[in-house]
Symmetry: C2
Subunit: 261 residues, 2 copies
């Protein structure tokens, strides 16, 4: 989110498709929503779709494709899921086996694609009302924590909710809740405000993923459901195969963040 | 909604289960959400879940059960889907074959249960802010119309959106939008306000389902996505078997309408 990137989503996806863009997508095509990717064989698809339906805060579905389909219909009419993401992670039996730049050769007719909302969208909305995002300010990755809040299980999928934390000045906390409440399809309102222990987080300086950020006096830690949750839950279920985006290397959609509000 | 019914959801479900309640459920357990029922064999379940995900306004999912399960977990911890609805419709190949009072003997391990939000919830919210509901006032069924708005298809399921219409005084239209926007899981904000022709409705006096109601001078017809949509779409796909509630004979949940806001 740090700098203005003049390219439009279609142009960025075209560069990615041609192998000319290997970087993370944070800060590109500002104003447009980016999405997390999860591809699963069809035998897991109903359970995972049900898991997302039951847990919309950590798993906000933006689009799900029918088995075998690799072209999005609603997030973009131009995209190819097999080539338009800068880096893919291939997991076998819950273990990361390799990172690749396209999955065209791996594609199967029973693959079901899930695209989930990403916090970039609501961070942009917060910035627009002059609420500072500490990890952007400190040029770090957002701190993420495994909580003691159980997700609602569905079929083979279950596990705790992972949250991201942003320190917010006390006089802006209510405003931050209002703003992010408008974006239900990108994690929505916070799941917790204040005391980290209440949701099982023992030390805010030691995130389970991402980086530790400064919390100033007069700020509350505010916790939002995080898109790492579905990935953690999928890995725990150890499907024989699962493909995701590599962290930070997202699918850039043609949907304006404002269209999600 | 016309009269106060002192019984609580659990008591009503118990009467229904014992065969002592064959009536519609409109107006009972005021304050508690009621749900539409769709039961489908597992082979149709992913497509239908995807259809609901893509069309949340006509198909607002309140709970979906894993294959074979007949006890709800989130809408109530006491209920049995096979016995706790006053009347069921059994459809074979898209045709209504019979109406029964319980489906215990028909139950199969591959049945997937979908419970969808119902407009009773948002009507109660409108009444609470003194917005009159004409069909309740006239003691009729809400008028429903097949529109030219296509639902987003999913797998074998596709078809036009069905809407319900409520005449609202012009100076209360914005308020009605605000109030119902809060209830996204029970159809949410209107899909259309005003000119019926714009969504393919030729004559407001001739609803496709339900009854015609009076529209006074100074009132706009306001159209909400209707729970008849998923039923119409399922019937069109002609699954070999489908079980629904009989119109007006809903599943009474333990969830307060306010919990849906």
């Amino acid at each position: 989110m740090q700098r203005i990137e003049p390219l439009r989503p279609k142009e960025i996806r075209s560069l990615i498709r041609k192998g000319k863009w290997g970087k993370p997508t944070a800060g590109v095509a500002l104003g447009y929503a980016q999405a997390n990717l999860v591809v699963l064989p069809q035998k897991y698809a109903f359970d995972f779709l049900l898991f997302c339906q039951r847990n919309p805060k950590p798993c906000p579905l933006l689009e799900v494709l029918e088995p075998g389909r690799y072209r999005t219909k609603y997030l973009s009419s131009y995209a190819d899921i097999r080539t338009d993401i800068p880096r893919y992670h291939i997991y076998q039996n819950g273990r990361l086996e390799r990172t690749v730049k396209r999955i065209t050769d791996l594609w199967r007719k029973d693959f079901v694609t899930f695209l989930l909302g990403c916090s970039f969208s609501f961070e942009e909305a917060l910035l627009r009302v002059k609420i500072t995002i500490r990890h952007i300010e400190e040029n770090k990755n957002v701190p993420m924590f495994i909580t003691n809040i159980p997700c609602k299980p569905a079929g083979v999928f279950h596990g705790p909710m992972v949250v991201s934390m942003r320190p917010i000045p006390l006089d802006q906390v209510a405003r931050a809740v209002q703003i992010t409440s408008r974006y239900a399809s990108v994690h929505g309102a916070p799941v917790h405000i204040g005391d980290p222990l209440a949701i099982g987080i023992k030390d805010l300086r030691k995130p389970d993923f991402g980086d530790s950020v400064t919390i100033h006096k007069g700020e509350a830690p505010v916790f939002w459901a995080c898109g790492v949750t579905p990935q953690a839950v999928v890995m725990k279920a150890k499907p024989d195969l699962c493909i995701t985006h590599a962290p930070g290397h997202m699918f850039v959609t043609d949907l304006l963040n404002e269209e999600l509000a």
